[in-house]
């Protein structure tokens, strides 16, 4: 079984819009996160969906799931005050749905609405073979490392660098164990599940993402999404 775990518990503080986190902002009359979830809803390989969201939005998200006919959504649970806790809360809900420790969990940011079916399929297929997968795109700009924010410490070889995206996809046992160990060993505020799994000595394989699969984090990102969509609304009917 393949379960999508959608993370929609962000605070949106970088959007300059404190009263409504980015994942709830309407895009063409529909909350951003619903566009994202629909991509998983229509994917033949995704069996069930679990949503992690802000506690005060749980009822609202349940209403949207009904309104937009998202029949694969099985659970909407509250996030925590960090990404790590939100994922862990989601995994606890997932645990009630899995039928095998090898079931595949596709973890995706609700704020990446332009996820393609190909990326979802590639994540699931590669995970079936290797157990742990991260979606990446090759770094196009030179990456500069500076330890003091003043001078360059290092310029890593760009050919070895990638930018991480989501989904990050794992067999259930691998990601659950990694999170429980992190809690037990008090590893603080892990912002990336691939990093967490990697820290326990498990290989994480790469799946090619897409520049289009960008995350709506800042106001500029939202403008970029709206600009892309505006261009797309030019259907010609004479």
């Amino acid at each position: 079984m393949n379960i999508a775990l959608i993370l929609a518990a962000g605070s949106g503080t970088r959007m300059g819009n404190a009263d409504k986190p980015k994942q709830f902002l309407p895009i063409y009359g529909k909350p951003l996160m619903i566009h994202t979830i629909e991509a998983f809803e229509i994917n033949d390989d995704v069996d069930k969906i679990v949503i992690v969201t802000n506690e005060q939005y749980i009822d609202q998200v349940k209403v949207w799931c009904k309104q937009y006919d998202l029949g694969k959504v099985r659970s909407v649970v509250a996030g925590g005050n960090s990404r790590q806790i939100s994922v862990y809360n989601g995994l606890k809900a997932v645990e009630e749905l899995v039928s095998s420790p090898d079931d595949i969990i596709v973890i995706h940011d609700a704020a990446r609405p332009l996820i393609s079916q190909k990326i979802i399929n590639d994540n699931i297929n590669v995970c079936k073979e290797f157990g742990a997968v991260d979606t990446v795109i090759k770094a196009s700009d030179t990456i500069i490392r500076s330890k003091d924010n003043e001078i360059i410490s290092d310029i890593p070889n760009r050919n070895e660098l990638y930018q991480g995206q989501t989904p990050q996809t794992f067999k259930f046992k691998i990601i659950k164990d990694a999170h429980e160990k992190a809690l037990k060993e008090a590893i603080p505020n892990v912002t990336d599940d691939a990093k967490l799994v990697l820290s326990f000595g498990i290989d994480v394989h790469l799946v090619e993402g897409s520049a289009q699969n960008f995350k709506i984090t800042t106001f500029d990102d939202l403008m970029m999404l709206k600009a892309l969509l505006k261009l797309g609304k030019t259907e010609v009917v004479l």
């Binding site: 332009l114 079916q117 190909k118 289009q212 797309g232």
Partner: protein, 346 residues
């Protein structure tokens, strides 16, 4: 949900656009599977039409030959996973009340001739997109055992069906089909399916292409010494269509019916003196109706039809980006020797 759609924005340029999938209440959501490029798509892509027309059309998503799979259907007409042919034409019931359209009410002509009827990849965006929503009556289910690479030729087959609808086969004794390209071959397939015992002669110029018309007599106009014909179909198009039509007029018996199917951007000078002398009837056919697609969906179950269509699959190409689309257009543009198409699928 967001959707990728690819549009021709100017001659030789295809760009990706991101669109939202329309509201689903009364519409079926279809995952577009396999697509084929039509000569009309190539004309828009190359800019081979009047620039004033093109400036009204661009940006325009090409492709009106496509099949897909039903993802969701709130109307309950289709099941998830049903294989469907996408019907590229639609019209509004209000056209019926316009008296200037009165001849379009005739069943042998069809609703697709209403001047304001919408046709995908011509007056509305085509199917070069990942997902498509439409009302259930713009889809025709085909049997799941049929490969999408075969079913994708349905639109062409439907136009051939529309052409044959214009002929009274009770009156046909000898039929000539002019053309040795894709459209002629498609007409030949439907003729063999609908009228297997018909006396059929195919006129062409390319020996290699004529070999594909296995179950018909083949001939070249200059060498033909046989009987004349009562029914003649032109499926040549382009700059040679005038020659073909004049040859057909020469080979017609008095009172013959001529069906014209080929598109030519130029005006064709034809021998009207002989048209008058022989009392010939000329009918134009290039548009099919949903009923034609339904007939085609049945024809697709025929092994002979499937086998005949299979030679038209020149290549199957997975589309990951705009560059892959360019390659398919270029392959079809450069193909001068084979009857077939380079298919695209996501």
């Amino acid at each position: 949900m967001f959707n990728n759609i690819f549009k021709v924005t100017s001659p030789g340029v295809i760009e990706k656009f991101i669109d939202t999938v329309e509201d689903m209440d009364n519409k079926v959501l279809v995952k577009v599977d396999t697509m084929a490029i039509c000569k009309a798509d190539i004309r828009y892509f190359l800019g081979n039409r009047d620039i004033n027309v093109l400036n009204h059309k661009y940006p325009l998503a090409p492709i009106h030959e496509a099949v897909g799979e039903v993802v969701k259907d709130p109307t309950g007409t289709y099941k998830k996973g049903d294989k469907v042919i996408l019907v590229p034409n639609s019209f509004d019931d209000k056209f019926y009340s316009d008296n200037s359209n009165r001849r379009c009410h005739r069943k042998d002509l069809g609703d697709n001739y209403y001047p304001k009827a919408v046709f995908r990849s011509s007056t509305a965006d085509g199917f070069l997109r990942n997902y498509y929503t439409c009302s259930p009556d713009l889809l025709v289910k085909y049997d799941e055992s049929i490969a999408p690479s075969i079913a994708v030729f349905s639109e062409l087959l439907s136009v051939a069906t529309a052409a044959l609808r214009r002929i009274d086969f009770n009156e046909v004794e000898k039929l000539a089909l002019f053309g040795d390209g894709i459209m002629a071959y498609i007409v030949y397939i439907m003729l063999r399916y609908d009228h297997p015992d018909l006396d059929l002669t195919v006129f062409g110029i390319d020996d290699h292409k004529l070999e594909a018309f296995k179950d018909a007599r083949t001939a070249k106009f200059e060498e033909y010494k046989g009987e004349k014909f009562d029914t003649l179909i032109e499926a040549v198009g382009g700059k040679f269509s005038a020659d073909a039509i004049n040859n057909m007029i020469d080979l017609s018996i008095p009172g013959a019916d001529l069906i014209l199917m080929g598109v030519n951007e130029e005006k064709s000078p034809i021998n009207t003196r002989l048209v008058l002398e022989k009392g010939l009837s000329l009918k134009g056919v290039t548009r099919s109706t949903k009923q034609d697609f339904e007939h085609v969906a049945k024809a697709l179950n025929d092994k002979g039809v499937q086998e005949a269509l299979s030679i038209m699959v020149l290549s199957q190409n997975k589309i990951n980006n705009v560059g892959d689309i360019y390659k398919c257009f270029e392959a079809d543009i450069n193909n001068k020797t084979e009857i077939g198409k380079n298919l695209m699928h996501w």
